[in-house]
Amino acid sequence: MKPVYLRILVLSGILSMACTTKVSEWVLLNSEANNYLLVYYHKDPVTEPVKKQNEQIGREINSANIQFRSILRNDIEKPYYALIYGNRLFSTYNNHAELKNLSVSPLREKIASELMSGMLCVMLYLKTGNPEKDAPASEIIKRTVAASPFREVVSVRELDRSSTEEKHFVSMLLNVENDLKEINEPMLFGIFARFKALEPLLARGISTENINLMIDFLTADCSCLIKDNLPGTDILFTNNWENPLPALVNRILDENPALLHH
């Protein structure tokens, strides 16, 4: 076979696969997580202890989706760190200690391991701490997922908004949209691929219909429109995303072709 024919054959094979791969799987395999930027703003020359601290920060976040930079600025009173995503300022930190566990935490590790094991998504329920608000939505989430044909590949995790252990994770989730910090309502984030968090359902938006639409979005064939304008915000996390296990959703769809949709 001539090399040119072979190339055409391989290319058409790849293209045909791209159109039937599900959104969640396609993004996990093909879409790199966007990088954060951690900036150390300082007015005076960096002292030796601070330099060492910054080197340590650099080592800690070395394999996460983040870059670290020092920038000299004359219009500040005291030095500080700023966490930036795209053109959005997520958080500021007064000192090195506040950055502890910026890119790792127990819940993020659990979620990443579930995503790498082939789960469709992790639904993260961010609670307000007020049982009267949290309980009804929690019940709806559990009931809806339990009734879904995709229940085996959807994991539900809960997180308190006031958790100190997960404070960086909570902060990133509340920065997915710029008004979330002011809204003290339960929120449901769909987390998929390489820790991408969809814009959340919140308060009365956490309904059976909307949860099923979230599952539909992730189990749909990956379209060019989704690829070109992928929603969500990447969460900062240290992980090697290579060689995830095959997507479990494909087995469910193979066994139940009636569930296939676009």
Binding site: E177, N178, D179, L180, I183, E185, L198, E199, P200, L201, L202, A203, R204, G205, N210, L213, M214, D216, F217, A220, S223, C224, L225, I226, N229, L230, P231, G232, H262
Partner: protein, 73 residues
Amino acid sequence: MKQDTLQYRSIDDRPLPKWLTDQRDGLNRYQPEKLEMKEDNSLTLSFLLTGGIIILVIAVLTVYVLKKRPNRY
């Protein structure tokens, strides 16, 4: 996919995420370009051009042959 710059009065008025409304309304699917019929003059143009070229070639060849042809008279 930002939709959070919109103003809303209460939490119930807050717009749903765009990914969700697009999925609900079927807008996440790839929609092929709609083909519209347009007036097509290319065939007429092609005939005219071909006819013109043929006439030109015949004219050139006629002149060439007449010039090259020995005068018998």
